[in-house]
Amino acid sequence: MAVKNLMDVVEKTQMKEGRGNFRVGDTVEVHLKIVEGEKERIQVFTGIVIGRKGLGANAAFTVRRLVGNEGVERVFPVHSPSIDKIEVKKSGKIRRAKLYFLRDRVGKATRLAEKRGLGDLVKKDETPEAAAVKPRQQQKAEEKAEPKEAKKEEKAPEAKK
């Protein structure tokens, strides 16, 4: 077996399907399993995803929230078994991959403009994650296809002249 393939095989055993369907700028609830003695309970950490890093089983993300007036950041492995689930509450409108500029802000300035139109794209029978990914890919495909045709049409008349 090819060397690269075997890596994927191993990593796949560590990865949880459906995890990681969130983006930077999203406000998420991270449900953490916390073991106290023999009891297990769920603790929720809510905040904005300010960055993602790593690939495959190594992927991790940083969540920032304000507690009182103090910023708290936690880094979680995306596929960690101690995470019960990750819920996306809001999607922020962002223009960069790492939102480190939020660290310099307090109060109202930490809010991100909410992304619009995502709700319309989500069909009821689809999970929000799948819907969020799908339209984007389709759009790209359409965009790719269109400009070429457009160019051809433009060029054709010129040639005639």
């Binding site: 077996m1 075997l6 191993v10 560590q14 495959g56 089983a57 492995p77 596929h79 960690s80 101690s82």
Partner: protein, 227 residues
Amino acid sequence: MSSATGILGRKVGMTQVFDEKGLRIGVTVIEAGPCKVLQVKTPEKDGYAAVQLGFGDKREKNTSLPLIGHFEKAGSGPKRFVREIRLGAAPSDKPGDDVTVKVLEGVQKVDVSGVTKGKGFTGVVKRWNFRGLPASHGCSKRHRAPGGLGRHMSINKGVPKGKKMAGHLGTDNQTVLGLRLVKIDPENNVLLVKGAVPGANGSFVVVRTSLKEKVRLDKEAKRKAAK
């Protein structure tokens, strides 16, 4: 079951896995086996006990005739990587037997041998962890130099024998002892070993049951027997 206490393999790469507590462990993925037993060495005949294993196929075109004969004796095609695994007692294997990762089942710790990455001609700072000379205070153009070589009062004795100097680093045989065997996957012939292993990805390695762990277990067994 094979009596081999080790197996040959190939370093695939490093990644991480989660343990039962949800903590991340850095592991090396090793594609190990299936190996063919090419020859069996016994104390009576060879003076020591061992099995010779072969791993990784090679084209016949690139193999010398005597070697092809040697492989054919074991009913095997030519192998790229051939190594012996030393054993305590005469092995129960026969030439031609297959050795898979299952030989390491139940093993806690392993030693992994390989050839380190070649670093070429390197200076003393990298090769011997010298500190070099000062970065400032008038030090000019000699920041990574070895400094004096010793013997400043005795004349005509030259540089001391074995003085650490610049030279070739890497491509040495190296064994890392006592790595935890995190997982065995017989289906994919994969071993997961905690920590790093010598060599580049794709290079051959020998995985043996840990020597130190064996000594420790033997001592424990003895103590129990004494009680």
